[in-house]
Symmetry: C2
Subunit: 241 residues, 2 copies
Amino acid sequence: MPLKLSLYPYLYCVKQTQNIKVSVDAVVFGYTSSEGLSILLINRRIKPFKGEWALPGGLVHNDETLEEAVERELEEETGLQISYLEQLYSFGSLKRDPRNRVIAVAYFGLVRPDAFRPKAASDAKAADWFNIKELPELAFDHQKIIDTALLRLQGKLTYEPIGFELLDKKFPFSELEKLYKTVLDRPIDRRNFKKKIMKFGFLVETNQKQKHAGSGRPGFLYQFNEKRYFQLKKDGINFEI
Amino acid sequence: MPLKLSLYPYLYCVKQTQNIKVSVDAVVFGYTSSEGLSILLINRRIKPFKGEWALPGGLVHNDETLEEAVERELEEETGLQISYLEQLYSFGSLKRDPRNRVIAVAYFGLVRPDAFRPKAASDAKAADWFNIKELPELAFDHQKIIDTALLRLQGKLTYEPIGFELLDKKFPFSELEKLYKTVLDRPIDRRNFKKKIMKFGFLVETNQKQKHAGSGRPGFLYQFNEKRYFQLKKDGINFEI
DNA sequence: GCAAAAGTGTTGTAGGTACACCCATGC
DNA sequence: GCATGGGTGTACCTACAACACTTTTGC
């Protein structure tokens, strides 16, 4: 059976002009040990889904890349500093948007706690953080996008050290441990976890101690050494938790 | 520092109408033990890049999903049966296509050897297979897309049993081993590899023997049990080679 | 001095790696 | 009978899991 070949495959494309828009949407995760894992949402001021909560995002401009579009939208709608951004998935089903056919290229972002502003800081709730376990009803297919992003976060955390992007530049070791417990939603052995992480060598202990919050013995602060990590990665280590 | 909020974030979008097209492109891998890993390319019959080799693909129709578009394009341009398809990545840089701004949602596909037709079968070389190590110059940014796809294939092979999608339904064990050696481009210990694979339990030995090709002792044929795999996956195994 | 969190080592076990000889078939 | 590829087991070693007591601090 030979290959079946159309001689003019592109003829199909000119029959009717394509009328599809391209948007970007960002699932931005934030984390604090007190509030757990949260997602940044905006309240829509225009139809459709006016007044409902949605992911930050919007149409891509003609003269900007997808990454630039996400960064611009985040800046415009929320003004926050992002510490990590990667493409997640493109959603292209037919009825995503009731107005037009719109394809969404979704991105996955992480911010540090110092960029994470709680409810009080926003005026009139135009943008706000929601705990991952207490999300409101969402516009469009944004719940599905969030589900995809959460799976990606959980997966990624176990084979790339992106957890640091959700913590302050310097943090007590227990913060990292709590982060893993929260996001992966399972218990972790403190001693084994520390051995595993420290063995890699890209996490360095500073000589500073935690400024005391609450009771208990204050721990030393640690920081992630990105340079060392990239060196190790080039030499071929594989991070596995 | 409070969140900076634009009151009318969507105003930005109406300043100028978006003029971006959406296409899909497919990186389809095929494998035979004699020829190694190959990619399916088509020879462009229209400008731009007329006469050059490119990935199969084209503009998405208004009334079809992204997956439908990929499958239609593959059918139109090459007529082949695909055994595995997943989304790879979306490429959105500004000058990908010299005509318009076009965003490509790239897909990653695998076909079995019996769908794999060598050069002789195609008329006038409209579509053809190229060994991964002997690719021609490619149109657009298709080389970059292929690089991304190859990394995905290598990664995926080690943590999901998709290798079976590149082999016939029944195959001698050595075929699987050669596939891994070829794609991962490193030596593999025969005995350990077999132990590892068989331990999972989703690969079953049939009582048929390989019809003899060349010299040497013919081996038994094996087949992948998809049902068993999904059951195991649900119960929480993780495939790791 | 008591509650709360940080810091730290050992032992058993499972799984991975390294490694070599015999068997069935075609020519 | 020889060349080619198929089939198979063991021993060592590393890496992970399980597990509990002491130390520092705030109140």
